[in-house]
């Protein structure tokens, strides 16, 4: 169990630093997606009860919506700027 949490935590830390360091906007969005998947897994592993599963599911759905909206805006605004 501990190994799984360690691997996921390492991937999450790597993604946080890559979000902060890259310049391209599309790559930032991609890494944000990956980070939210990692956090959702960590939540489900941290809370050991069925309620934790519900919270992880709701967080997963709403983070997908956020990245969808940001992707739409990036493509539309590219010309104007």
């Amino acid at each position: 169990m501990d190994i799984i949490e360690g691997v996921i935590g390492f991937i999450a830390l790597l993604m946080v630093f890559r979000i902060f360091l890259t310049r391209s906007r599309a790559r930032k969005l991609l890494y944000l997606c990956c980070l939210s998947f990692c956090i959702s897994a960590l939540i489900a592993l941290y809370v050991k009860s069925p309620m934790g599963g519900i919270v992880a599911i709701i967080y997963f759905i709403s983070s997908t919506l956020t990245s969808n909206a940001i992707a739409y805006t990036i493509e539309q605004v590219k010309d104007i700027e």
Binding site: L65, N68, A69, Y72, E75, Q76, K78, D79, I80
Partner: protein, 231 residues
């Protein structure tokens, strides 16, 4: 003996005072009105932090109405600023005001690249509004009112962004909620008063006061523009 300033005051209260004084200086040297309005937000943060640093149950009871009152205050000041700007400008004032008209997507004038609506706004708002309204009805009081208002406003916004009309049922529902506001206020006062007069039946009066506050706060957000969309 440690430093007397830290001995008398909590560090939270010190941070709150520092932020408040800094942002008040910034407001004083600002010339534009809207910048000052945005900086007022930080003064509100400083107020909340100072109250929270007291750390008793009374602090939590003071924060809840403070949040709602500051929301209403910012709403009123922003309306005044917008109206003054409209009167000053040469453009004629629009005769018919529609709720959230200014958020409509600019794809109709050909400014944007692709002729597509944002996909999230077509599928998600019904789900969000349903979940938020049911959840807010379970939590009553100020908290439930704020949660319900968030769901209703997001649903209305998503309809208007796609260029659709608000349906008649929704308008009637909202107007009915605004009309219930006076009754809800009476319910809250009666519940709060009887709570001291007849302490034996406390559960009934507690529920009455909570229900009154939910309706009151949830309908207060109809103040944005004319909710009835006057003809």
């Amino acid at each position: 003996m440690e430093n007397p300033v830290i001995y008398f005051y909590n560090p939270t209260i010190l941070v709150g005072f520092a932020i408040g004084i800094l942002s008040l200086f910034a407001i004083g040297s600002q010339k534009d009105d809207l910048h000052a309005l945005i900086l007022t937000d930080i003064v509100e943060c400083a107020m909340l932090v100072i109250i929270a640093g007291v750390d008793t149950d009374l602090a939590e009871a003071l924060i809840l109405p403070g949040l709602v009152v500051s929301l209403a205050e910012l709403l009123a000041v922003s309306e005044i600023l917008i109206n003054r700007k409209i009167i000053k400008s040469k453009k004629p004032k629009p005769k018919v005001y529609k709720l959230f008209e200014e958020f409509k997507l600019p794809i109709y004038t050909g400014d944007l690249k692709y002729n597509v609506h944002m996909e999230v706004l077509e599928t998600s708002p019904k789900f969000f509004a349903l979940v938020l309204i049911i959840y807010g009805a379970i939590l009553s009081g100020f908290t439930g009112g704020a949660v319900i208002a968030t769901g209703l406003l997001f649903y209305a916004l998503s309809l208007r962004v796609r260029g659709l009309e608000l349906s008649e049922e929704l308008k009637t529902l909202w107007e009915g909620m605004a009309g219930l506001s006076g009754i809800a206020w009476g319910l809250w006062i009666i519940g709060f008063l009887e709570f001291f007069l007849f302490p034996k039946k406390w559960l009934l009066f507690l529920l009455m006061a909570g229900l009154g506050l939910v309706l009151k706060v949830g309908s207060k957000l109809g103040l944005i523009g004319f909710i009835g969309e006057a003809k």
